[in-house]
């Protein structure tokens, strides 16, 4: 447990170091780079950037101070918006989290349902689900987004085309974000259920007169729950990164589209902050998933 947490902290430290150190890898003077690479920079402004990044200190000290600032919520000032980066994030995070939560609900519910359906029904249903999910993983989200906008937004007019706010606005983006995840989850569910179904204890349960429905729920699905929950967790963790494409495609204002704008406008403090946030969230969620595992599978308890 302690070892696991130290490992996670080490990973966090190294990744943040990579994100911080990236500015030094950029061609040219880090000051100009951090200031947005613009030409007409006043000496005062450059000095401010120097102070913000403690550029006159030794490299490792700079990193330490930057990390300390980041942990305490001071993420620097955006070169583009001239705002505190922390404020920018705080303003946009809710809509992104809402989108991720909406998509997570969609892919968990429908992904598991489809997987169970494919495993239980077999035959044509199974073939259709497998074919459908193979196709779904072959279409990049931004293409799905444009198709959904064309069809449901413009042609049929069921959903607003751009902008955000309501649940209604978020539906098409959430579907887009959920589609690939849904395909993965339904495949994992199907596979785990098929494997569980072959186990002896399921036959034993059948031989004790349990109805098929109860066998599927209490034994097959229960046994398959471990891999399903793990995968749901991992996919949800990766979704924050997925919002980059989806928010851009739907013109939503969240941290994903913030990252894209920051990069296209050379706003490195914002880029660093969003990356740091996404990577941290990803590592934390994947660690949580591992910690939840013993609750699902008692056999894993001994090892922790």
């Amino acid at each position: 447990m302690v070892r696991k947490l130290t490992g996670v902290l080490a990973t966090l430290l190294v990744t943040s170091f990579v994100i911080f150190g990236a500015s030094y890898a950029a061609p040219g003077d880090p000051v100009t780079f951090l200031a947005g690479g613009k030409e007409n920079l006043t000496p005062e402004y450059l000095a401010a950037v120097r102070a913000q990044y403690h550029l006159d200190d030794p490299f490792l000290v700079q990193f330490g101070r930057w990390l300390g600032d980041a942990v305490t919520g001071d993420l620097g000032r955006s070169t583009q918006y001239n705002d505190q980066v922390g404020d920018l994030l705080a303003a946009r995070l809710p809509s992104t989290l809402g989108l991720v939560a909406y998509a997570a609900v969609l892919f968990v519910v429908f992904g598991i349902a489809l997987g169970v359906l494919a495993a239980v029904r077999g035959g044509r249903t199974d073939a259709a689900v497998v074919a459908g999910t193979t196709f779904a993983t072959s279409v990049p989200p931004f293409v799905v987004a444009t198709v959904l906008i064309s069809l449901f937004g413009v042609r049929l007019g069921w959903f607003p085309v751009m902008g955000g706010g309501s649940l209604w606005h978020l539906t098409l983006p959430a579907v887009t974000l959920a589609l690939g995840a849904l395909a993965i989850i339904s495949r994992v569910t199907r596979q785990a259920m098929v494997e569980q179904r072959e186990l002896d204890h399921v036959t034993v349960a059948r031989a004790s007169g349990l109805s098929e429905r109860l066998i599927v729920v209490r034994h097959v699905f229960r046994g398959a729950l471990g891999p399903i929950v793990t995968m749901c967790g991992l996919v949800t963790a990766g979704m924050l990164a997925g919002t980059v494409t989806v928010e851009t495609a739907f013109g939503l204002s969240g941290i994903g589209s913030l990252l894209v704008n920051a990069i296209n406008t050379h706003d490195f403090p914002v880029t660093q902050a969003v990356l740091l946030l996404m990577v941290t969230a990803y590592i934390v969620v994947t660690t949580l998933v591992e910690l939840v595992q013993p609750l699902i599978d008692p056999r894993a308890r001994r090892r922790t």
Binding site: T11, V14, T15, V18, I19, A22, S23, A25, A26, P27, F33, D126, A127, V130, A131, T134, F135, T137, S138, V139, P140, P141, F142, V143, T146, V147, I149, S150, G153, V154, R155, V161, M162, A237, G238, L240, A241, G242, V244, T245, T248, A249, L259, V260, A262, I263, N264, F268, T271, L275, M278, V279, Y282, I283
Partner: protein, 279 residues
């Protein structure tokens, strides 16, 4: 959408495989012979034909600037297919070397390779690539190199597992006993023997690489105008959706989807045949 309609579940039936192969061959031939196939230039602006529908003249319609979509798709296939090819070349050169080295040396080399891999895997999705692009600036070259770097650990991991299995075979020991050097054994015997399963794996990765690269172009990080990269075409066609013209996004979108599906269908079959593991 014929290739989609016949898409069959695993095990992939030969019909799907043949259709996929035929479709890819068509795309490649079209891309190579683009100037012979279409009378238009990919960048030829013709505002008279702005958002033209499907017609004998513009078989797949035209975009906002009246550029012929079929022409742009065919020329765009060049970037859209060569890009993933290059990034896989970079990734596999690095990945195979590192993976083989890790499996051959074990010990600290292995540990270092797997630590580096862990750090890169801590960045979800394309974020590692995005970081590189943020530092070195947007553009197709940077995008391809960055993706190549990002894919290297995946290939290294796979190569390592294949190489470990291969190193356990007696013939490697036999060469060692004969006094052959480690490098010579790796380059002349180990890598060629792993070739089949690595190539199978690369075919499976190709579709993913194409999607990633197209996504970067769509975000504006990859190909820059006036390129007719498919991802960029979708980005540029997006404003036309609101005007009710779907062709500028649907045509490149469908091209990406169909090519990726085709590669996946072929990849799965090749993977089965060549004994690619863990997919």
């Amino acid at each position: 959408m014929t290739a989609v309609a016949t898409l069959s579940p695993r095990p992939v039936r030969p019909l799907g495989y043949l259709l996929a192969a035929a479709f890819l061959a068509l795309v490649v031939v079209g891309a190579v012979c683009a100037p012979l196939v279409t009378p238009f230039e990919p960048d030829a602006v013709d505002f008279g034909a702005s958002l033209a529908p499907v017609s004998p003249e513009h078989l797949l319609g035209a975009d906002q600037s009246g550029r012929d979509l079929l022409t742009r798709i065919l020329y765009g296939a060049r970037t859209s297919l060569v890009g993933p090819l290059l990034l896989l070349a970079i990734a596999s050169a690095l990945g195979v070397a590192l993976g083989t080295l890790a499996a051959w040396h074990r010990g600290w080399v292995d540990a270092v390779v797997s630590r580096v891999t862990d750090v890169m895997y801590a960045f979800p999705g394309l974020l590692f690539v995005v970081l590189i692009l943020a530092v070195f600036g947007n553009g197709m070259t940077t995008a391809v190199i960055a993706l190549g770097l990002a894919y290297a650990p995946t290939i290294a991991k796979y190569t390592r597992s294949v190489a470990l299995a291969e190193c356990g075979k007696p013939y490697i020991d036999a060469y060692r006993v004969q006094g052959m050097g480690g490098l010579a054994i790796c380059v002349r015997h180990l890598v060629p023997n792993m070739g089949r399963s690595i190539v199978g794996y690369l075919v499976v990765l190709f579709g993913e690489g194409l999607m990633s690269l197209a996504t970067l172009s769509f975000l504006g990080f990859g190909a820059q105008p006036p390129s007719s990269d498919w991802g960029l075409m979708v980005k540029e066609g997006q404003p036309a959706i609101v005007q009710g013209a779907f062709l500028p996004v649907l045509v490149p979108g469908a091209a990406i989807a169909l090519v990726v599906v085709s590669f996946n269908v072929i990849g799965v079959r090749l993977a089965d045949r060549m004994g690619v593991r863990g997919i």
